[in-house]
Protein backbone atom coordinates (compact mmCIF):
# COMPACT_ATOMS: atom_id res chain seq x y z
CA UNK A 1 0.00 0.00 0.00
CA UNK A 2 1.36 3.41 -0.93
CA UNK A 3 1.99 5.86 1.87
CA UNK A 4 -0.65 8.24 0.53
CA UNK A 5 -3.31 5.55 0.67
CA UNK A 6 -2.04 4.59 4.12
CA UNK A 7 -2.51 8.20 5.19
CA UNK A 8 -5.98 8.80 3.76
CA UNK A 9 -7.56 5.52 4.88
CA UNK A 10 -8.01 6.85 8.40
CA UNK A 11 -9.95 9.89 7.30
CA UNK A 12 -13.05 8.38 5.70
CA UNK A 13 -12.85 4.70 4.83
CA UNK A 14 -11.52 3.58 8.20
CA UNK A 15 -12.47 6.61 10.23
CA UNK A 16 -11.95 5.56 13.86
CA UNK A 17 -15.14 7.20 15.11
CA UNK A 18 -17.66 6.96 12.30
CA UNK A 19 -16.71 3.56 10.90
CA UNK A 20 -14.72 1.63 13.50
CA UNK A 21 -16.67 3.10 16.46
CA UNK A 22 -13.60 3.40 18.67
CA UNK A 23 -12.80 6.10 21.20
CA UNK A 24 -16.43 6.88 21.91
CA UNK A 25 -15.96 8.40 25.37
CA UNK A 26 -13.91 11.47 24.37
CA UNK A 27 -15.96 11.73 21.17
CA UNK A 28 -19.15 12.23 23.14
CA UNK A 29 -17.66 13.84 26.22
CA UNK A 30 -15.72 16.82 24.88
CA UNK A 31 -17.56 17.82 21.72
CA UNK A 32 -19.84 20.46 23.20
CA UNK A 33 -18.05 22.92 20.89
CA UNK A 34 -15.96 22.64 17.73
CA UNK A 35 -12.85 24.07 19.37
CA UNK A 36 -12.95 21.56 22.24
CA UNK A 37 -13.37 18.72 19.76
CA UNK A 38 -10.42 19.95 17.74
CA UNK A 39 -8.21 20.38 20.82
CA UNK A 40 -8.96 16.86 21.96
CA UNK A 41 -8.40 15.51 18.46
CA UNK A 42 -5.00 17.17 18.13
CA UNK A 43 -3.90 16.04 21.59
CA UNK A 44 -4.83 12.46 20.68
CA UNK A 45 -3.09 12.77 17.29
CA UNK A 46 0.14 13.79 19.04
CA UNK A 47 -0.05 10.86 21.46
CA UNK A 48 -0.94 8.49 18.63
CA UNK A 49 1.98 9.54 16.42
CA UNK A 50 4.57 9.57 19.19
CA UNK A 51 3.49 6.24 20.64
CA UNK A 52 3.42 4.72 17.16
CA UNK A 53 7.00 5.91 16.58
CA UNK A 54 8.30 4.55 19.89
CA UNK A 55 6.41 1.27 19.67
CA UNK A 56 7.71 0.75 16.15
CA UNK A 57 11.27 1.46 17.33
CA UNK A 58 11.22 -0.92 20.28
CA UNK A 59 9.10 -3.67 18.74
CA UNK A 60 12.08 -6.01 18.34
CA UNK A 61 13.24 -5.72 21.96
CA UNK A 62 9.97 -6.23 23.78
CA UNK A 63 9.10 -9.84 24.63
CA UNK A 64 5.70 -10.82 23.36
CA UNK A 65 4.25 -11.54 26.79
CA UNK A 66 4.75 -8.08 28.26
CA UNK A 67 4.01 -6.12 25.13
CA UNK A 68 0.59 -4.75 26.16
CA UNK A 69 1.79 -3.36 29.53
CA UNK A 70 4.84 -1.86 27.81
CA UNK A 71 2.66 -0.21 25.19
CA UNK A 72 0.47 1.21 27.95
CA UNK A 73 3.50 2.70 29.72
CA UNK A 74 4.74 4.27 26.47
CA UNK A 75 1.29 5.75 25.79
CA UNK A 76 0.89 6.97 29.37
CA UNK A 77 4.25 8.76 29.13
CA UNK A 78 3.11 10.82 26.15
CA UNK A 79 -0.27 11.46 27.71
CA UNK A 80 1.47 12.89 30.76
CA UNK A 81 3.58 15.12 28.49
CA UNK A 82 0.43 16.42 26.76
CA UNK A 83 -1.29 16.89 30.11
CA UNK A 84 1.52 18.98 31.61
CA UNK A 85 2.13 21.00 28.45
CA UNK A 86 -1.53 21.82 28.02
CA UNK A 87 -1.90 22.76 31.67
CA UNK A 88 0.98 25.20 31.30
CA UNK A 89 0.20 26.81 27.95
CA UNK A 90 -3.53 26.26 27.28
CA UNK A 91 -5.14 26.35 30.73
CA UNK A 92 -8.62 27.22 29.38
CA UNK A 93 -8.72 24.24 27.02
CA UNK A 94 -7.24 22.02 29.74
CA UNK A 95 -10.06 23.07 32.04
CA UNK A 96 -12.71 22.27 29.39
CA UNK A 97 -11.32 18.88 28.45
CA UNK A 98 -10.70 18.03 32.10
CA UNK A 99 -10.75 14.36 32.93
CA UNK A 100 -10.62 13.30 29.29
CA UNK A 101 -6.96 14.29 28.90
CA UNK A 102 -5.61 11.60 31.27
CA UNK A 103 -8.19 9.25 29.79
CA UNK A 104 -6.40 9.32 26.40
CA UNK A 105 -4.42 6.47 27.98
CA UNK A 106 -7.40 4.15 27.76
CA UNK A 107 -8.54 5.39 24.36
CA UNK A 108 -8.85 2.16 22.39
CA UNK A 109 -7.72 3.88 19.18
CA UNK A 110 -4.23 4.55 20.53
CA UNK A 111 -3.62 1.10 21.99
CA UNK A 112 -5.33 -0.46 18.98
CA UNK A 113 -2.95 1.18 16.50
CA UNK A 114 0.09 0.32 18.63
CA UNK A 115 -0.94 -3.33 18.80
CA UNK A 116 -2.38 -3.80 15.33
CA UNK A 117 -0.09 -1.61 13.27
CA UNK A 118 3.01 -0.06 14.82
CA UNK A 119 4.20 -3.29 16.45
CA UNK A 120 4.50 -4.86 13.01
CA UNK A 121 5.46 -2.07 10.62
CA UNK A 122 8.40 0.22 9.88
CA UNK A 123 8.81 3.58 11.61
CA UNK A 124 7.84 5.66 8.57
CA UNK A 125 4.66 3.70 7.90
CA UNK A 126 3.77 3.94 11.59
CA UNK A 127 4.13 7.73 11.60
CA UNK A 128 1.95 8.02 8.49
CA UNK A 129 -0.62 5.65 9.96
CA UNK A 130 -0.69 7.55 13.26
CA UNK A 131 -1.08 10.88 11.47
CA UNK A 132 -3.86 9.56 9.23
CA UNK A 133 -5.89 7.98 12.00
CA UNK A 134 -5.26 10.99 14.24
CA UNK A 135 -6.48 13.42 11.61
CA UNK A 136 -9.52 11.24 10.97
CA UNK A 137 -10.27 11.35 14.69
CA UNK A 138 -9.75 15.13 14.81
CA UNK A 139 -12.01 15.54 11.79
CA UNK A 140 -14.76 13.47 13.42
CA UNK A 141 -14.55 15.36 16.71
CA UNK A 142 -14.46 18.77 15.06
CA UNK A 143 -17.42 17.87 12.84
CA UNK A 144 -19.48 16.58 15.77
CA UNK A 145 -18.46 19.56 17.92
CA UNK A 146 -19.33 21.94 15.08
CA UNK A 147 -22.76 20.40 14.55
CA UNK A 148 -23.59 20.43 18.26
CA UNK A 149 -22.34 23.98 18.71
CA UNK A 150 -24.25 25.18 15.66
CA UNK A 151 -27.54 23.53 16.64
CA UNK A 152 -27.19 24.23 20.33
CA UNK A 153 -25.77 27.70 20.67
CA UNK A 154 -25.98 29.11 17.15
CA UNK A 155 -22.22 29.59 16.90
CA UNK A 156 -19.41 27.99 14.90
CA UNK A 157 -15.90 28.11 16.39
CA UNK A 158 -17.24 30.80 18.70
CA UNK A 159 -18.53 33.03 15.87
CA UNK A 160 -22.22 33.75 16.18
CA UNK A 161 -24.28 32.53 13.20
CA UNK A 162 -27.79 33.09 14.51
CA UNK A 163 -29.16 34.36 17.84
CA UNK A 164 -28.58 31.93 20.69
CA UNK A 165 -32.20 31.93 21.82
CA UNK A 166 -33.22 30.03 18.67
CA UNK A 167 -30.73 27.27 19.43
CA UNK A 168 -31.75 24.03 21.08
CA UNK A 169 -29.84 23.78 24.35
CA UNK A 170 -30.36 20.01 24.24
CA UNK A 171 -27.55 19.62 21.70
CA UNK A 172 -24.96 21.12 24.03
CA UNK A 173 -26.11 18.87 26.89
CA UNK A 174 -25.46 15.14 27.23
CA UNK A 175 -28.44 13.70 25.26
CA UNK A 176 -27.62 15.85 22.23
CA UNK A 177 -24.19 14.24 21.99
CA UNK A 178 -25.68 10.78 21.56
CA UNK A 179 -28.39 11.92 19.16
CA UNK A 180 -26.11 14.06 16.98
CA UNK A 181 -23.52 11.29 16.72
CA UNK A 182 -26.22 8.73 15.90
CA UNK A 183 -27.49 10.78 12.96
CA UNK A 184 -23.95 11.63 11.78
CA UNK A 185 -23.05 7.93 11.68
CA UNK A 186 -26.26 7.18 9.80
CA UNK A 187 -25.34 9.82 7.19
CA UNK A 188 -21.76 8.50 6.85
CA UNK A 189 -23.11 4.96 6.50
CA UNK A 190 -25.33 6.10 3.65
CA UNK A 191 -22.42 7.89 1.93
CA UNK A 192 -20.15 4.87 2.27
CA UNK A 193 -22.84 2.55 0.96
CA UNK A 194 -23.61 4.76 -2.04
CA UNK A 195 -20.00 4.50 -3.23
Amino acid sequence: MSQLKNFTKGILKENPVFVLLLGMCPTLGVTSSAINGMGMGLATTFVLMMSNIVVSMVKDFIPDKVRIPSFIVIIATFVTIVQLTMQAYLPALFENLGLFIPLIVVNCIVLGRAEAYASKQSIVSSIVDGAGIGIGFTFALTLLGGVREFLGAGTFFGTSIYPEKFGSLLFVLAPGAFIALGYLIAVINQINRAK
Binding site: M24, G29, T80, V106, P175, I179, G182
Partner: protein
Protein backbone atom coordinates in the same frame (compact mmCIF):
# COMPACT_ATOMS: atom_id res chain seq x y z
CA UNK B 1 -26.86 11.69 54.93
CA UNK B 2 -23.64 12.70 53.21
CA UNK B 3 -23.24 9.17 51.88
CA UNK B 4 -26.82 9.12 50.68
CA UNK B 5 -26.18 12.26 48.64
CA UNK B 6 -23.07 10.71 47.11
CA UNK B 7 -25.02 7.55 46.23
CA UNK B 8 -28.04 9.29 44.68
CA UNK B 9 -25.85 11.71 42.80
CA UNK B 10 -23.59 8.98 41.40
CA UNK B 11 -26.39 6.65 40.35
CA UNK B 12 -28.99 9.03 38.97
CA UNK B 13 -27.97 12.66 38.68
CA UNK B 14 -24.43 12.29 37.35
CA UNK B 15 -24.86 8.87 35.83
CA UNK B 16 -21.44 7.72 34.72
CA UNK B 17 -22.50 6.71 31.22
CA UNK B 18 -25.38 9.00 30.38
CA UNK B 19 -24.12 12.23 31.92
CA UNK B 20 -20.35 11.87 32.16
CA UNK B 21 -19.67 9.79 29.04
CA UNK B 22 -17.39 7.28 30.71
CA UNK B 23 -17.44 3.63 29.74
CA UNK B 24 -19.29 4.14 26.45
CA UNK B 25 -17.41 1.30 24.72
CA UNK B 26 -18.81 -1.50 26.92
CA UNK B 27 -22.12 0.39 27.03
CA UNK B 28 -22.47 0.03 23.26
CA UNK B 29 -20.51 -3.21 22.94
CA UNK B 30 -22.09 -5.61 25.42
CA UNK B 31 -25.63 -4.26 25.54
CA UNK B 32 -27.18 -6.52 22.93
CA UNK B 33 -28.47 -9.05 25.49
CA UNK B 34 -29.59 -8.54 29.08
CA UNK B 35 -27.60 -11.58 30.26
CA UNK B 36 -24.24 -10.23 29.12
CA UNK B 37 -25.16 -6.79 30.41
CA UNK B 38 -25.70 -8.22 33.90
CA UNK B 39 -22.36 -10.06 33.75
CA UNK B 40 -20.51 -6.94 32.66
CA UNK B 41 -22.15 -4.83 35.38
CA UNK B 42 -21.07 -7.36 37.99
CA UNK B 43 -17.48 -7.37 36.78
CA UNK B 44 -17.35 -3.57 36.63
CA UNK B 45 -18.79 -3.17 40.14
CA UNK B 46 -16.21 -5.56 41.53
CA UNK B 47 -13.18 -4.07 39.78
CA UNK B 48 -14.22 -0.44 40.12
CA UNK B 49 -14.61 -0.63 43.90
CA UNK B 50 -11.37 -2.55 44.30
CA UNK B 51 -9.42 -0.29 41.92
CA UNK B 52 -10.58 2.85 43.71
CA UNK B 53 -9.40 1.51 47.07
CA UNK B 54 -5.99 0.55 45.70
CA UNK B 55 -5.41 3.73 43.69
CA UNK B 56 -6.54 5.85 46.65
CA UNK B 57 -3.98 4.19 48.90
CA UNK B 58 -1.28 4.65 46.26
CA UNK B 59 -2.10 8.33 45.89
CA UNK B 60 -2.10 8.96 49.64
CA UNK B 61 0.86 6.82 50.69
CA UNK B 62 3.15 6.86 47.66
CA UNK B 63 2.47 9.73 45.25
CA UNK B 64 1.60 12.44 47.79
CA UNK B 65 4.46 11.89 50.29
CA UNK B 66 7.02 11.79 47.46
CA UNK B 67 5.20 14.68 45.70
CA UNK B 68 5.24 12.92 42.36
CA UNK B 69 1.59 13.62 41.56
CA UNK B 70 2.40 13.99 37.87
CA UNK B 71 2.96 10.23 37.71
CA UNK B 72 -0.70 9.69 38.59
CA UNK B 73 -1.85 8.66 35.11
CA UNK B 74 0.96 6.18 34.53
CA UNK B 75 0.82 4.57 37.96
CA UNK B 76 -2.98 4.32 38.07
CA UNK B 77 -3.32 2.64 34.71
CA UNK B 78 -0.57 0.16 35.53
CA UNK B 79 -2.15 -0.63 38.87
CA UNK B 80 -5.56 -1.13 37.27
CA UNK B 81 -4.15 -3.34 34.52
CA UNK B 82 -2.31 -5.57 36.96
CA UNK B 83 -5.25 -5.58 39.38
CA UNK B 84 -7.53 -6.90 36.65
CA UNK B 85 -5.04 -9.68 35.90
CA UNK B 86 -4.77 -10.49 39.60
CA UNK B 87 -8.54 -10.60 40.05
CA UNK B 88 -8.79 -12.89 37.07
CA UNK B 89 -6.19 -15.32 38.46
CA UNK B 90 -7.66 -15.32 41.98
CA UNK B 91 -11.24 -15.75 40.78
CA UNK B 92 -10.22 -18.69 38.62
CA UNK B 93 -8.77 -20.46 41.67
CA UNK B 94 -11.21 -19.42 44.39
CA UNK B 95 -14.55 -19.28 42.70
CA UNK B 96 -14.77 -21.00 39.32
CA UNK B 97 -18.52 -20.31 39.18
CA UNK B 98 -18.04 -16.56 39.50
CA UNK B 99 -15.16 -16.75 37.04
CA UNK B 100 -17.44 -18.46 34.55
CA UNK B 101 -19.93 -15.63 34.90
CA UNK B 102 -17.52 -12.68 34.84
CA UNK B 103 -14.43 -14.17 33.18
CA UNK B 104 -14.87 -13.04 29.61
CA UNK B 105 -15.56 -9.47 30.70
CA UNK B 106 -12.51 -9.02 32.88
CA UNK B 107 -9.88 -8.43 30.14
CA UNK B 108 -12.19 -5.84 28.57
CA UNK B 109 -12.25 -3.85 31.76
CA UNK B 110 -8.67 -2.58 31.54
CA UNK B 111 -9.67 -0.33 28.67
CA UNK B 112 -12.94 0.71 30.31
CA UNK B 113 -12.28 4.37 30.90
CA UNK B 114 -14.88 4.50 33.68
CA UNK B 115 -12.51 2.61 36.00
CA UNK B 116 -9.57 5.00 35.54
CA UNK B 117 -11.98 7.93 35.40
CA UNK B 118 -13.57 7.14 38.75
CA UNK B 119 -10.17 6.50 40.35
CA UNK B 120 -8.99 9.96 39.25
CA UNK B 121 -12.30 11.65 40.14
CA UNK B 122 -12.17 10.22 43.67
CA UNK B 123 -8.82 11.97 44.15
CA UNK B 124 -9.99 15.18 42.47
CA UNK B 125 -13.13 15.41 44.60
CA UNK B 126 -10.97 15.00 47.71
CA UNK B 127 -13.07 12.21 49.16
CA UNK B 128 -11.76 10.22 52.12
CA UNK B 129 -11.33 6.48 51.70
CA UNK B 130 -14.84 5.50 52.84
CA UNK B 131 -16.51 8.20 50.72
CA UNK B 132 -14.38 7.10 47.79
CA UNK B 133 -15.48 3.48 48.17
CA UNK B 134 -19.14 4.48 48.43
CA UNK B 135 -18.74 6.76 45.42
CA UNK B 136 -17.07 4.05 43.30
CA UNK B 137 -19.64 1.44 44.27
CA UNK B 138 -22.57 3.75 43.53
CA UNK B 139 -21.05 4.80 40.21
CA UNK B 140 -20.74 1.15 39.24
CA UNK B 141 -24.37 0.57 40.19
CA UNK B 142 -25.30 3.53 38.01
CA UNK B 143 -23.31 2.00 35.17
CA UNK B 144 -25.10 -1.31 35.65
CA UNK B 145 -28.49 0.34 35.79
CA UNK B 146 -27.94 2.27 32.55
CA UNK B 147 -26.44 -0.79 30.84
CA UNK B 148 -29.28 -3.15 31.80
CA UNK B 149 -32.04 -0.68 30.87
CA UNK B 150 -30.30 -0.05 27.57
CA UNK B 151 -29.89 -3.78 26.87
CA UNK B 152 -33.59 -4.29 27.54
CA UNK B 153 -34.51 -1.59 25.05
CA UNK B 154 -32.09 -2.93 22.45
CA UNK B 155 -33.55 -6.41 22.62
CA UNK B 156 -36.85 -4.89 21.56
CA UNK B 157 -35.22 -2.64 18.96
CA UNK B 158 -34.09 -5.72 17.06
CA UNK B 159 -37.70 -6.32 16.13
CA UNK B 160 -38.38 -2.75 15.01
CA UNK B 161 -38.59 -1.77 11.36
CA UNK B 162 -35.96 0.84 10.64
CA UNK B 163 -34.55 2.69 7.64
CA UNK B 164 -31.37 0.91 6.50
CA UNK B 165 -29.00 3.72 7.41
CA UNK B 166 -30.19 3.86 11.00
CA UNK B 167 -29.78 0.16 11.74
CA UNK B 168 -27.24 -0.92 14.36
CA UNK B 169 -25.15 1.76 16.03
CA UNK B 170 -26.99 4.91 14.89
CA UNK B 171 -30.31 3.87 16.40
CA UNK B 172 -28.53 2.60 19.51
CA UNK B 173 -26.94 6.03 19.97
CA UNK B 174 -30.20 7.86 19.44
CA UNK B 175 -31.89 5.56 21.96
CA UNK B 176 -29.08 6.29 24.41
CA UNK B 177 -29.72 9.99 23.82
CA UNK B 178 -33.37 9.63 24.75
CA UNK B 179 -32.40 7.57 27.79
CA UNK B 180 -29.97 10.33 28.77
CA UNK B 181 -32.82 12.81 28.43
CA UNK B 182 -34.89 10.72 30.83
CA UNK B 183 -32.02 10.69 33.33
CA UNK B 184 -31.77 14.47 33.04
CA UNK B 185 -35.07 14.54 34.86
CA UNK B 186 -33.17 13.63 38.02
CA UNK B 187 -31.00 16.74 37.90
CA UNK B 188 -31.73 19.13 40.71
CA UNK B 189 -32.59 16.43 43.25
CA UNK B 190 -29.34 16.91 45.15
Amino acid sequence: MEYLIIIISAIFVNNVVLAQFLGICPFLGVSKKIGTAVGMSGAVTFVMTLATIVTYLIQKFVLDPLSIGYLQTISFILVIASLVQLVEIILKKVSPALYQALGVFLPLITTNCAILGVAILTIQKEYNLLEGVVYAFATAIGFGLALIIFAGIREHLDLAKLPKGLKGTPIALITAGILAMAFMGFSGIV
